[in-house]
Symmetry: C2
Subunit: 276 residues, 2 copies
């Protein structure tokens, strides 16, 4: 019998990017999607107070706030600003009762990748006391290496693990997104190593060919990633939390949100929970 | 005093893709580029016998033949064909006196990356006796992870090292191409680990933003890679061989070959040999 339980499913709201926060919450309720991942620009659109009211009225758990990070910068003043902005992100996650603040760590300001990585470590270290106090878990999301120059200098699970292990597991964990890590020959080793630190699991698919480096992600089942296998590895490492569907794709954004959510639920069952 | 020695420089002929083999050899002689990397489709254009004559007449060493590989396939019959084609590639490298046959290992035929990787290992194992007999070194080139679905399931230096270490270092080595590995936080560790197995070093640059996933590579100095640092790491691991300039970029291909080669020499000195 195939599994039919959607209790771990969460809509990362970027998947229905045309929807406001209120619309995304309504869409989840209509489709019986039991949780939501919220982006900061959607919070900013209505303000934090109104966002909290909307989330409480909907009664939906917030699986993550996306995203903190973007730490490296050319000057100490800019780096301090980034850290301050991350304190606001921690506040937002705390106010919305989110399990996790996802960290997209940021690109290097110049050719010195090693220096950028040190800036990331220093920034996380600076944020740990504040995150602990607000009871928010920060989770480092290693991004696909093709984003190294423009989005994140943290590009593999091994690197994310090495970095996270410098901190208390209750405060600094990692997020596994299949799109960013599926290619990695050391995936099994590094997912097992992340036991006790996995704070999020994101799914979508790698389209062949890839229509666009940023906006070319696919619905689960439409690409080449063995998502079911990676889900099994993450579960075997002790992760029992939410599984967020996060898709950046203009074609999907242009479809009616209710249709996207319905398809996402169907594919969650056929490609994530069950082996296709 | 900046270094000015171009004795290790080699033109990988894909950089001047509009040139035939004869034209590329002439171009190297005119610009005093002391070696060339040759692609198999350029050999096929004039035949192996004529290619050998052209190379001997030019008196230029052949730093590599690009490329063998493309091993994974859905059926045993197809996989046997690929291995047979690689025997022909080994023949070509031997006939041209090339140091190295570069292996671009090939994409998976389906969602099973682990199975594809086993096919690569099996194919290399099958080719080792033939390569040894013909005194050709095969060199595994890990490709950027963004090519995992379409070009190579071998996507990191660590993975290439693990694979190469299963074989005799004289017959199976690796190629380090800055474009494919620059993002890797474990680069220093894995280049050091490859000591005694590095059979080629390729340079170009990562443009920001990347205009095209395949054809968007840049001239050294036009992008964000710290090429000088990687060259230093490769040298520190004992590599003293050729440094090939390999650029896939339509805009560069559309420029006159002599201008591209002149700029490449200049950038080799300013960004590869010396610290920019």
């Amino acid at each position: 019998m195939p599994a039919t339980d959607t209790t771990r499913l969460s809509l990362n709201q970027i998947t229905t990017n045309r929807w406001s926060l209120a619309e995304a919450l309504d869409g989840c309720l209509r489709a019986e999607v039991p949780a939501i991942g919220i982006w900061r620009h959607k919070i900013a659109d209505v303000g934090l107070k109104e966002s909290r009211r909307l989330v409480r009225d909907a009664g939906l758990p917030v699986s993550s706030v996306c995203r903190g990070g973007m730490f490296p910068a050319a000057t100490a003043a800019e780096r301090a600003e980034r850290i301050e902005d991350n304190r606001r992100a921690i506040d937002e996650a705390a106010e919305l009762g989110a399990d996790t603040l996802v960290l997209v760590c940021g690109p290097p300001p110049d050719r010195d990748l090693a220096a950028a990585r040190r800036m990331v470590e220093d920034a996380i270290a600076a944020l740990v006391p504040y995150a602990r106090e607000r009871r928010v878990r920060m989770a480092i999301e290693p991004l696909h290496p093709m984003y190294a120059a423009e989005r994140s200098c943290i590009t593999s699970l091994e690197e994310a693990n090495v970095l996270a292990e410098k901190f208390d597991a209750d405060t600094v964990g990692i997020v596994v997104d299949v799109y960013h890590v599926w290619w990695d020959a050391m995936l099994e080793r590094e997912i097992a190593r992340a036991r006790g630190r996995i704070r999020g699991f994101h799914v979508c698919d790698w389209l062949v060919p890839t229509p666009d480096m940023l906006m070319g992600r696919g619905m689960m089942g439409d690409g080449c990633i063995d998502i079911h296998r990676i889900r099994t590895l993450v579960d075997a490492a002790g992760y029992a939390g939410r599984i967020e569907v996060e898709i950046l794709n203009q074609r999907i954004w242009d479809q009616p949100g209710d249709e996207v959510v319905a398809l996402m639920k169907q594919r969650y069952l056929s490609c994530v929970l069950n082996k296709p």
